[in-house]
Symmetry: D2
Subunit: 265 residues, 4 copies
């Protein structure tokens, strides 16, 4: 979609006077209800973006093309999503650039899937695994609404049975017990490929690190990102009173050829 004008079936972002954000799929005839009043979709369709619109109660909302960040924060969710602060770093660490082939499990609501798909487009491909029907349905819808479904292959399959692809450039696990799938991971990932995982607890990180020691992984890193937001008031600049205290620990590593000489670390 070009910046110029909003079309039916476009997704637009509405920003309220209080800076709340709503993602809207434009459909002629529909209405968007907020506690500040109603906005008719038809008042947006065909209009230029980057402007304000007024509710029937006289409150002005900003109408924007959603950024990738907006999409990630506002995907329909049936599970905990991976946060953009983490996704940004994951993209760089996994080397998720144009043309790459990347495996991800589980799909969940598809937030990371969506970001990976954007990053490898138009020639790359994301292979995303999920066993739960409901998750897959939600993820598929999120990917379609974002228009990146052609860059994603969704597999409804238990990864204990192995991944279908071979020699992929990167592989990311957002599952409860990633250590159970190290064999399958090493079979699918090319030598030198990028491995990543997200884990909420320190115990999981320890178990995962111990499991990785029995497989050909090197350059292992564990890290976390803390995002601190500030009140954007020039004369009273200060951090917000509250912040997210934890999303998860990130593990990154490189899979090496099993036949390599051991590295003496």
């Amino acid at each position: 979609m070009r910046l110029s004008r909003a079309q039916e079936n476009d997704r637009v972002l509405l920003v309220s006077p209080g800076n709340r954000r709503y993602l809207l799929l434009l459909r002629s005839g529909r209405r968007f209800h907020t506690n500040k009043g109603i906005i008719e979709h038809d008042a947006l369709i065909g209009q230029p973006l980057g402007r304000s619109v007024t509710t029937h109660l006289g409150h002005t909302f900003l109408v924007l093309r959603p950024s990738l960040h907006d999409l990630l924060m506002n995907v329909k969710r049936v599970s905990q999503i991976i946060y953009p602060k983490d996704i940004g770093l994951i993209l760089l660490k996994l080397d998720a650039v144009h043309g790459r082939r990347i495996i991800e499990a589980g799909t969940g609501s598809g937030a990371l899937t969506l970001a990976l798909a954007h990053a490898v487009r138009p020639e790359g491909m994301v292979y995303s695994y999920e066993v739960r029907e409901e998750m897959l349905r939600t993820a598929r819808r999120n990917l379609e609404e974002a228009g990146v479904e052609d860059s994603v292959t969704l597999h409804q399959r238990d990864i204990a049975e192995g991944f279908v692809e071979r020699d992929v450039d990167a592989l990311f696990l957002d599952v409860r017990e990633p250590w159970d799938y190290m064999e399958q991971t090493c079979q699918a990932l090319a030598d030198g490929g990028c491995f990543g995982a997200l884990l909420p607890t320190t115990n999981q990180v320890s178990i995962q690190l111990a499991a990785m020691a029995h497989h050909p992984f090197m350059a292992i890193e564990v890290l976390e990102l803390m995002l601190r937001q500030y009140k954007p008031v020039p004369q009273r600049l200060r951090p917000d009173d509250h912040m997210i205290g934890h999303t998860g620990y990130l593990i990154f590593a490189r899979k090496i050829a099993p036949s390599s000489d051991p590295i003496q670390e």
Copy 2:
């Protein structure tokens, strides 16, 4: 480059036994000297990646294709670079996806330029402005070595004279006094376009926020990211003793149409 084998003129990443990382441009006949011994480039050229190589002193190094993260951390620098933890979030906030047209100033050593170029490839374009000759030379070399020079237009030009492009999707300022260029920014950025800036001090953030209040910006955010690294030892998991305490504050906003009704915030 495919993962399979390193070729002459490829960049490879060497990881030392102590987890130090070196970026190497492969040239037949050259030697790489470390305090762990010498590695001949010819011992790497034509060899598969994801394997170890041994120095003449018997130490093993890992040979990898550099990820985007590795490239960013290891670009040749003549100035402070923007860190990957910040770049990851900037990409998402600027909506730097396939096909976008994005302005950046100043180019500096070209780390953010490189990441933006990767993100908008192959059809998008990054327009990067820099006045200092030496910076431009370094940045051009970094972009060429990464193979993304076709996705970047470098301008040696003082942005006080305005940007050449119009209606760009996003614009990022990494300059000392971004508040001096708000007029030029609003001329170049499309309505609804994404604005970003990186500033090291709180005083700069306050001045910048005050300046933005006189221009059509909305959905303004100020934030910072703290990256904490852990020792990847399963039985003794703990954060590193030292961490980077500060890189900079990030400001993000959306430029709206000047004719918009005021938003009552």
Copy 3:
């Protein structure tokens, strides 16, 4: 109070099954109402501490002697209190030990006052200034209930008129515009004495630092403390989802003799 048994007029801490904490002043005949049921004060008076008590609905609460930390977190408040994480460091930085004479303004709800009084007891004295009647009343009550009123001199006085005491060991300002009182501060504080201030915004910190440059202060520090709490679950150890993002910036310095040779920093 000895640990042994709770007496009438003692303050006890009740800890709920969900780890919520309530401070209670024991008075015969009274009842404590919670959403888990009622506890009669008479069921606590005369009983040993460190035990559980059962509500009429059968829920067990823990009955404890409140620690200084518990008292600080649970003082009656008519204003934002200074948090224990900050108070702990303030005590060390101000050298608040047995026998010291320390000025503080404003008193507020008296949380810092209470901690300072405990620290300088029995021979030291805290001189606390406050103009607002309601604050003083609340603070006095909090100090009396904690039994440290003999170590505090409360002044209802505008500090613009100067402090009454001279040559105090330390002086702490928790007021909106501390820079207005640097003259008065330097008159009251002994040469070499410890100065401290708490300020919520970066702008205030900058103004305060600029003001201090015109007065004989040295060894100036600005810092902040971030407290991160973890879920105390052995098999799933991880930080809480949410945390306090900001309480305030702390400034510390030493006042030197005005006649000192300038330090070339």
Copy 4:
């Protein structure tokens, strides 16, 4: 010591032009050598504090009475000390106020011992356990130089054999495997008493929490404090480039009477 004048055998704090801090025990005839020149102790003895002194090379140093914070940061160390940021909170959480009886193990270099002694003076007592001869010698010297040796009872004893005291108000463990001493801890600590421990790794925290579940502990908390220092420059306020990334995790709890009804958490 009063603020007025430095005497022989007093400890003074010297602050260099570059804000480096040195703790000095004044002895007539001695000289203090720095890379900025020499200061004669006799030039300080008998002089008022809070002033500057000039080295033979013409550099000015500030002469101050050390605060408790200065003492803690500058104790002679033969082991890792507990940092003041953590000590401040430990004092509040352990309820270390005037008159309390507190056990600590191990003594180490005596930094926490020193702070606890200051807090419980003049009537309280700190009982500090250490097996290593060299540690005890260093700690004793640090306590004597700080003048608080009368408030500390040092035990050279393996705590596996149990603590000598009974019914203490608080007990803090800074040992490698605190979980091995829970039986001894519960014997020494009064019902309702405050327990604390400092542990560097997440694995230790998990093991300790698991051990505490088999003993009468309630109101268990795990937390960590991050200290961020800022450059105190009014026009360029910003955090320091580097910070301490980790000191340790703090555990706090209350020991309850073993006969208490179980709390259903």
